[in-house]
């Protein structure tokens, strides 16, 4: 064990001591000791070999220390955020209730002010969902579908806030269009998420989303008199054409990367 301590101390001889470094050194020493115990049970009796073997398993202590520091900072930030989320939720709800009561008593518009509570809670839920989406995105790709579901939920929650506001405050009878718009936004957001996180085979998502979103867009544009119902229906065949164009474009760009040995031979011969 003393050789492990020497190795760690020598590696960090020129690094200023602080609490983080101490914790890192302790962690490394614990891991090395644990590994040494494991290897001893295999029947290795040569102490020098054991020491060299274990030390060889921890080759980049300084680089790993930098990572440890970065992780440590990240952990602290996450801890602070967790506290904020717990106490913030309580504080936010209390503040909302106070605001709701104050505005209601002052304006006597009880039929509308309840929106403050519902809208406020939904906006807080969207904030919490965004935190979870960020955390899940940092995990392995295997978990990304959960983030995509949460993203869709947050858009629907946002749409609900807008819908209630439009209906209750603006008294618009066509407020229902918010939901078809939200569905289109869900597809767009998921497509952007797939692009940003470099999901494999995301082209399949796009090929499905475009024809799926187009009827919603058709209904919205038609209902709001932006586009006449006829020939607005052409949006649907247009979506299929867009899909075909995407397939053709992708095939053409992939063709550049198709290996043709005879072309290569010709090139080499010249």
């Amino acid at each position: 064990m003393s050789s492990f301590i020497d190795y760690i101390e020598n590696t960090f001889a020129d690094t200023a001591n602080n609490d983080t470094l101490y914790r890192y050194k302790r962690l490394v020493l614990d891991k090395m000791t644990e590994r040494a115990n494991e290897v001893t049970h295999t029947g290795l009796h040569d102490e020098k070999v054991l020491d060299d073997l274990i030390i060889s398993e921890f080759p980049h202590l300084k680089e790993n220390y930098q990572k440890f520091c970065a992780e440590d900072r990240h952990r602290r930030r996450e801890k602070a955020l967790n506290k904020f989320m717990i106490f913030g939720t309580i504080g936010f709800i209390l503040a909302l209730v106070v605001l709701y009561l104050a505005v209601s008593f002052l304006t006597d518009a009880w039929s509308q002010t309840w929106l403050l509570i519902v809208g406020g809670i939904l906006l807080w839920v969207i904030f919490l969902l965004s935190v979870f989406i960020r955390r899940i995105t940092a995990l392995r790709r295997l978990f990304h579908p959960f983030a995509r579901v949460l993203l869709a939920l947050s858009i629907m929650a946002g749409a609900t806030v807008v819908f209630l506001f439009t209906l209750v405050v603006l008294h618009r009878s066509d407020a229902w269009v918010i939901y078809p718009i939200a569905v289109v936004l869900m597809y767009v957001a998921d497509g952007i998420y797939a692009y940003v996180t470099k999901q494999k085979l995301r082209i399949i998502n796009y090929l499905i989303y475009i024809p799926a979103a187009m009827p919603m867009l058709y209904v919205v544009l038609g209902a709001l008199d932006i586009l006449p119902w006829h020939p607005g229906w052409l949006l649907m065949p247009l979506s299929v054409l867009i899909d075909l164009a995407m397939i053709a474009f992708r095939s053409a760009s992939n063709a550049k990367y198709r290996y043709k040995q005879e072309v290569d031979d010709e090139w080499n011969a010249n």
Partner: protein, 425 residues
């Protein structure tokens, strides 16, 4: 907490081959002195710690399989004995089967006999192929020597990724995209079989071997040079010609033999790679037997040259396998891949030279030895070839009966006869 290792694409593929072979790779090395067992144990422990896949059990998870690193004792890895009948002890050891869900994926034995030692190792092909197994042996010998002679700790074994994707790393970006787009099913589609007896519950594993002398090997090399062929081409030509006689194929039939190729040819520096599999197969096809073995050789040379010209030799099919394993859970992808995959009935693996200077232990070069691939289940066969001290050892591992042994011996007789015919000046 249990340590897990990722099951790489080739681990899964070799696991899928369980219906065709026992997935064991074998080596036998003879030394004219007594190996220091304590030193060997120390080296082996260090190597097992450096390559944890060797003491891991394969977990066939239906969604995504993985390895679980297991505790072990070196006495469970290394067997030491003084057998009266060395040949029988070696054969019994070499023909053992290590299940993938066992805690150890490699077994080592040292047999002492009349002041000499025989080192035998059997390992699961899922952990590494013949190429890395050869490296493992050389590293074992080098580390043993450094430890015994200079007291240097035996920790010099390559560590790193086991991913198949290492084969792409040295390509340019455009080449990488090209190579990753080689979606092609490259399976052999030839129904010509090696004429073994039908399967029987009484079948047992055996390793048939035949040595080709150094003089004959020199003649083979010279003959190859005369005909613009490599040693491998000559051996494959003799393999083809012998099969036509042995199995009585119609001389006008086209036959295909799958030849193993080492994909490390695409990796400039393997020093950062872990022990793994980087082997693919090329289909060596001849349109007919040819009027004589020289014409067969011409066909073989033509076929193998087609592959050699290809920049992406052996990389076809990898993207398809990756896609198969990525988009579906493991259980489903296995079933899908099984539909598209057809295991070659006839295969050959030229493992290459076993360099005696690099396999020397404490100044003693091995006096004899060979390496061979997995025990194939009928009707599949694999002919392995290794060269040591210019002596070629042809070997075939079969799960069969005494009649199959005779058939394989007859095949080796024909191989020798055809090699004789090829080397006539």
């Amino acid at each position: 907490m249990e340590r897990k290792l990722n099951a790489e694409l080739w681990d899964k593929m070799h696991y899928l081959f369980r219906d065709f072979n026992d997935r064991m790779v074998h080596v036998e090395l003879h030394y004219d002195f007594e190996i220091d067992i304590e030193a060997l144990k120390t080296v082996l422990i260090c190597f097992f710690e450096k390559a944890p896949v060797l003491h891991s059990c394969f977990k066939d998870n239906h969604v995504s399989p993985y390895w679980i690193v297991k505790p072990y004792h070196i006495d469970d890895v290394l067997t030491v004995s003084h057998p009266d009948n060395l040949e029988e002890a070696v054969n019994t050891f070499l023909t053992q089967y290590i299940p993938p869900d066992s805690d150890l994926q490699m077994q080592v034995a040292v047999f002492f006999h009349e002041g000499q030692s025989t080192l035998c190792i059997v390992e699961n092909h899922m952990c590494m192929d013949g190429g890395d197994f050869k490296y493992f042996l050389k590293a074992l010998c080098k580390n043993y020597n450094d430890y015994v002679q200079n007291g240097i700790s035996p920790i010099e074994l390559r560590e790193g990724t086991r991913s198949f994707e290492a084969v792409y790393n040295d390509f340019s970006q455009t080449e990488q995209r090209m190579a990753r787009n080689l979606y092609k099913n490259v399976c052999a589609k030839d129904n010509h079989k090696f004429p073994l007896t039908p399967d029987s519950i009484r079948d047992h594993s055996f390793i048939a071997r035949r040595k080709i002398s150094a003089e004959k090997f020199a003649q083979i090399k010279a003959a190859g040079k005369r005909h613009g062929a490599t040693v491998n081409d000559v051996l494959v030509a003799a393999y083809f010609y012998s099969l036509y006689t042995l199995a009585d194929y119609n001389p006008s039939d086209s036959v295909t033999i799958s030849c193993a190729i080492d994909l490390r040819r695409h990796i400039k520096d393997v020093s950062d790679e872990g022990l793994t599999n980087h082997t693919a197969f090329m289909q060596c096809n001849i349109p007919e037997r040819g009027r004589d073995i020289f014409q067969t050789l011409q066909y073989v040379v033509h076929s193998s040259n087609l592959y050699k010209k290809d920049k992406f030799m052996g990389l076809y099919g990898l993207p398809l396998l990756k896609l198969g394993y990525n988009i579906l859970p493991h259980a489903a992808s296995e079933e899908i891949i099984k539909i598209g995959y057809s295991n070659p009935l006839l295969a050959m693996s030229n493992i290459g030279i076993l360099e005696v200077d690099k396999l020397a232990l404490d100044g003693h070069e091995p006096t004899d030895g060979f390496m061979t691939g997995a025990v194939k289940y009928k009707p599949y066969v694999l002919l392995s070839a290794t060269t040591m001290r210019n002596v070629v050892t042809l070997s075939m591992c079969v799960r069969g009966n005494d009649e199959d042994k005779r058939i394989v011996e007859r095949f080796f007789d024909l191989m020798e006869k055809n090699l004789d015919a090829l080397t006539v000046e």
